[in-house]
């Protein structure tokens, strides 16, 4: 393959990948028990996507194609490692995969609305949430520095998620869709 073709191919891939990465990430996250698992799987998925990118039709739907590959990876991950983890039953995971693909446009709007809702939070609460959601965050330490018990901190976290979800619902209700 000439160098320029290679670069072109590379660029096209990156373009698709960077555009759809948040959707694929969220898709994988819905099917596995933790964010760390989702990160691991997403890395594998991205490598498979690049390997198989030659088979992807340039006028095709990259997101749907990536979901297909991600779904396959997740199912094999559940088979291999699911045994020693607490995971949802595989028939339930299959249902979630299928249904979440059907409502993807709705989920994308929710993801966008979340960023605005997140911004509207009080600064201290937002900062605390960020620390809880940071990669490799230690919830015990975050709880401690926030002056809460671990149990109390989880309760706070649950409340924040609920408030954000309410905010998203309200924001989307106001939008013409």
């Amino acid at each position: 393959m000439p160098d320029t073709d290679n670069n072109d191919h590379h660029r096209q891939f990156l373009r698709h990948f960077t555009t759809h990465e948040p959707a694929v990430r969220a898709f994988v996250r819905r099917l596995v028990p933790s964010r760390a698992d989702a990160d691991d799987i997403l890395q594998e998925v991205s490598i498979v996507l690049w390997k198989k990118f030659g088979e992807f039709r340039s006028d095709g739907d990259f997101k749907a194609w990536a979901f297909g590959i991600a779904r396959f990876k997740v199912l094999s991950w559940l088979r291999d490692r699911g045994r020693d983890r607490l995971v949802l039953d595989s028939d339930v995971v299959a249902l979630i995969a299928e249904e979440s693909q059907n409502v993807e446009p709705h989920l994308e709007r929710q993801r966008i609305a979340l960023e605005t809702c997140f911004e509207k939070m009080r600064t201290e609460e937002r900062d605390l949430l960020v620390r809880a959601y940071e990669r490799n965050a230690r919830i015990h330490e975050v709880a401690l520095t926030s002056g809460r018990s671990v149990g109390g901190f989880y309760q706070w976290l649950h409340r924040m998620r609920k408030l954000l979800m309410d905010c998203i619902t309200r924001a989307l209700a106001e939008q013409p869709s």
Binding site: M1, D3, N6, N7, H10, R11, F13, L14, R15, F17, T18, T19, E21, P22, R25, A26, R29, R30, P33, S34, R35, A38, D39, Q43, S46, I47, W50, L86, V87, L88, D89, V92, L95, I96, E99, S100, V103, L107, Q110, I112, L114, E115, T116, F118, E119, R126, D127, L129, V130, Y133, E134, R135, N136, I139, Y154, L157, H158, R161, M165, I168
Partner: protein, 535 residues
Amino acid sequence: MINQNFDPQILHRYLDGTASAEDIEELSAWLRSNADARLEFIEMLNLDSTLAAVSQPFSAEDAAAMTQACEPASMSIDQVTAATESKVAVIGSKDSSTLHRLAWLATAACVAMLLSGVWWSQRTPQPWATVQSRVGAGEFAVGAGLRGEVNQIQVGVVQLVTARGAQIVIEAPATFQFESNNRLRLTRGRLSAEVPPAAKGFTVVTPSGEAIDLGTRFGVDVPTDGPAEIHVFEGEVIAKVSGTKASENLFGGDARALEGGAGAARELRSSAFIQKNEMAELSAGHSSKQRRRAEASIVALRNDPTLIALFDFELNEEVPPGVFRMAQGRWPGSRAPEFVSVGDHVKLDVGGDHQWPQLTLAAWVRLDRLGAPFQSLLHTDGWNETKLGQVHWMVTRHTTMRLALYGNTLAPGSVEPDIFPDSRTPVLPEQGRWIHLATVYDAKARTVRFFLNGEFDKQTRQDIAYPAKLGPSQIGNWNREDRKLSGRIDEFIILGRAMSDKEIQDLYSAGSPYPAMIHKQNRPPQNLAPVKNDE
């Protein structure tokens, strides 16, 4: 219906990674039996994933490093090796050529970096964008961070850089709001964006649709009425019209309005947007108090007894009739008519029936490079022998300046491609910027002299040279056929005498919105020695 016995805390424990085996069993059963529950679960996990993403924004350094790593052309073998050290074992490929393998490794490295925590080390929410510079726009402090607040600029221009490294210049009057570090809502005004690979997907949301960048330079214009327009200078942008599913990929040189159906295509208006590099010059010009000198020189000209007309289109001046938009002029908050649609023009009727043996025409203009053969600077109405000496001043298809007087002829030996005096140096820059055009006509000396940005460009000799005639005219068009000027015009001067080279130079120096030195360096790279046509 949702199982009444289900404890919502189980879902949260699942998200937290603290669910027990019984919790998981109960959650599975609940989800299996209930579609509403599954939707609720899907939405909550979607929230969880997005929260994780927004909690780990890119820093500017990350963006810069990633830009480099993800740009295949800039990648050396060393970088690839270093970047992929930890990944090579996993992704090695035996059956490919070395070249292919290298490119493949590079992409894998880039993807790995996109995903790895290396890029996400920030602990507190960062600003989504930072103010880099401003001209006017006193609402903004250089270095200030912007997040989700609504911003307005009444006058001037502001330059921002997003957390992912996209460079954005927004011109007043404008209203905008960031929705994330890669998404900007523009309700009014115009912006230009230069987007590095790390900010690919940068999106401008307007009331009539969206522009989604794919790594490029582009402009978005949101007028007070009518649909927004996207202009792509380089690269590729996806245009999405609100309320439709259709999207269109635009490439360098393309432009379109965000409206449905046919007729959405537009000609690229290269000068309608202030881009990053011009911003630096405007900022320098602004701080060197150029504006005050410009205003002083205008006052002097207004007292010149030979002055026929002077339009600077400011608030205290009666706006001439015509069809045009009012846009920002060379200074923050100043005004300049902008010609966008077919038929746009300014009307004037000056000079009467008088015959002018000498005439100077000068204007600050900001013009698009178009396919159209002629752009009118000043066209007297009609073109026939009843008005010998009537004046047509324009930019030609050769992108040179032309001064045509009815009945005049070129002296033998002239190099002009047509039968009219033309300037030598192309007057249209590749990118939008303000330029000063001037021409001096002398019927007695039978000469036409052209000036670009204050510097003498060329003299053309005439064989027959009638005194100049004005009367009913249009700036920016011609009443007989469309010769629309595409762009803005500011400070238009008609003087009934021949200005000297020095005067033209001073007029330019005083009126330039850019600092003098920089502007000179930006002249087209041409030999500018005067040419004598009659020798």
